[in-house]
Symmetry: C2
Subunit: 429 residues, 2 copies
Amino acid sequence: MSNEVNVGLIGFGTIGAGVVEIFNKNQNLLDEKTGKKLNLKKVADLDIITDRGVKIDENILTTDVNDILEDEEIDVVIELMGGYEPAKTFILKALNNGKHVVSANKALIAKHWEELIETAEKNNVRILFEASVGGGIPLLTPFNEALSANKFESIYGIMNGTANYILTKMTEEGLEFDEVLKEAQEKGYAEADPTFDIEGHDTAQKLIVLTKIGFGKYVPQENFTVEGITKLTPLDIEFAKNELEYSIKLLGIAKKVDEDLEIRVHPTFIPKNHLLSSVNDVFNGVYLVGDFVGPVLLYGQGAGRMATASAVLGDVIDIALNPEKELNYGPKTPQVNKVKSIEDLVTKYYVRLTTVDKPGVLHKVGEIFAKYDVSIESVTQKGNSDRLPVPIIFVTHSANESAVKKAIKEIDQLDEIKGETITIRILKE
Amino acid sequence: MSNEVNVGLIGFGTIGAGVVEIFNKNQNLLDEKTGKKLNLKKVADLDIITDRGVKIDENILTTDVNDILEDEEIDVVIELMGGYEPAKTFILKALNNGKHVVSANKALIAKHWEELIETAEKNNVRILFEASVGGGIPLLTPFNEALSANKFESIYGIMNGTANYILTKMTEEGLEFDEVLKEAQEKGYAEADPTFDIEGHDTAQKLIVLTKIGFGKYVPQENFTVEGITKLTPLDIEFAKNELEYSIKLLGIAKKVDEDLEIRVHPTFIPKNHLLSSVNDVFNGVYLVGDFVGPVLLYGQGAGRMATASAVLGDVIDIALNPEKELNYGPKTPQVNKVKSIEDLVTKYYVRLTTVDKPGVLHKVGEIFAKYDVSIESVTQKGNSDRLPVPIIFVTHSANESAVKKAIKEIDQLDEIKGETITIRILKE
């Protein structure tokens, strides 16, 4: 790499426009930080007509991606088109043509980690993807550098802004999921098809990347439990907030237990005094614990044009400064053995039964929990009626997931139980 | 640097022992992350007798620092002795002898920044000091890498664990400063002579380093206001907590205002819903705002043997991976012009007057504030007596520091004012 670093951008969408904007606004800073001239040489997109609201030299726009992939002068390719194909083909071609790659494509990286990294290593180029997890938050770099001497014990991440916005609004305003989702869609905080965000898949992909970097273990998504937030009700959220001092968050959790790995994505009640409980709205936060550093929280905007573009350019600067830098994508030897089954999870549970308030139901339920060795920390009954069904909320002590499930299955067969029983896991560090 | 990286450690104190412990416990991980053999080859200290509670090969201990500085096989020198001299002489000698240096010595770096960096650059070696600010928190590295494409707007740091522990205890338990300090000393959270921590000097030194890295501007400590926490009372803290929903924190603030730099250290009231308000006990948190990334919080243990050693080894790994890496210590051109005088500060103020509750005093005080263009957001009077002095608390709208000072000087001359008037700045982002 000479004193000039030529950058090609594939994908002129929202984040792509953010990248162009950083070049427009902070060109001097970029040059000064790298000691080189950083050129945005070409931008490829199928649509080069629509106005993206940023100033751009029309001569650098192209509809032919090979204008970038085959341009020998281009040193760094930024891939921001997303999805598996043709993004993967383009990235592999760029790497094989000796170009460094910067990508925000968590889906692709989570799925094809090994092939991408190996191709980069084989070609002596770098592939960086800080923007793929936690948007603008410095996250992968710290794992690989400042925190690199640690063996990690656990990673807890609020990594989806859409889900977190919805849960924050449900909590603050006591609204139903559907109402808030609609509002979020109107505000542009949720996609027209929000499945990916609200069902936890986006969080799962980011967790896969963090788990590989933190524990050296690659776990494909089909190998762990992923639960979304669509079934949450204001009743549970408000009760947990007011009576139990819990917040509700969609958490990605990767945790070393004995020598195995717990990995899971699900809505989780978090005690109010835990810092993750203060990560609200569209913000993301990743809380990790290292054997030497102890707990660390990294917090910021997990998505959005400007924040994500900031992380993309951070990677470009790193490459411009250190094209020969050796790679460090977490420990080469996995720090954990097998992936534990969710059935073996031990945590605290929030359980809401809906029951007709007959004398004796508490006793029966208590007996069933005891039979499965699930001990109860607190019981609260809301409302008071002999006829209407009322909610009764149990908080368990640490208990085994499969035991809790069996107990609830048996409880649900009691005549007094009306309506669905709700179970929500509680964070237990 | 061959496939073996030899490390020499100067200073076998608390943190030095932590470094030895990481080598003992995570040697395999260190080797794997760097792809090299990382050897702790020598440890120098005047006292090599006292048991530090960690296993160490006695043959690597030496009382002669030149056994490290003049050993041609040593690639990286870790300096953990602290203080200005002889630490500075040793570091310069190490750099001039072609050795990379890792240091946690914020005092030295804050004072001799230019000489240290220039000497490293001249010798084509690296000097890293992630551990000098925020202990184990990834802080300087993110500024230089993941966040590097940003122009920074502001940096707010809770960077002294002792002060934060004391303020947290005063808040939670309503205790006097002296009581809590004594308890903190007994627990080992405060030094026998705590001046450096509680008067804000430690925070100031860390702020100097962050300001240089964030804004490219070196500001020596004598050029800005540094106020400690010794004058804070439970009365103000409790009132702010219960009536105004503020927390009290010792903040280091560096902020771009117009094109100039605001830089200051002082106790600050922070609204409860601000994330910094949840940074409690001995923890540190730095909240920064970049023009693209927006707000970011980096949180963790700001001191202590294990966390600080984690950051030191993070730097050593970075050097082992990338000995040729180009340096990036923030923008070379300062991003701000002059340092603003504290007299020109515009923020909100908490003002507690102590007055005999004569009718008319509120009116007189209001007139004086108005005369100096200080407008009032709220007034609260606690207690109710015609004879005893009672506190009256004013919260101002944004006002000018010098105007507030002048107003208070005049107010203090009123006959009705008894005892000292307390002024505390309120965070205004």
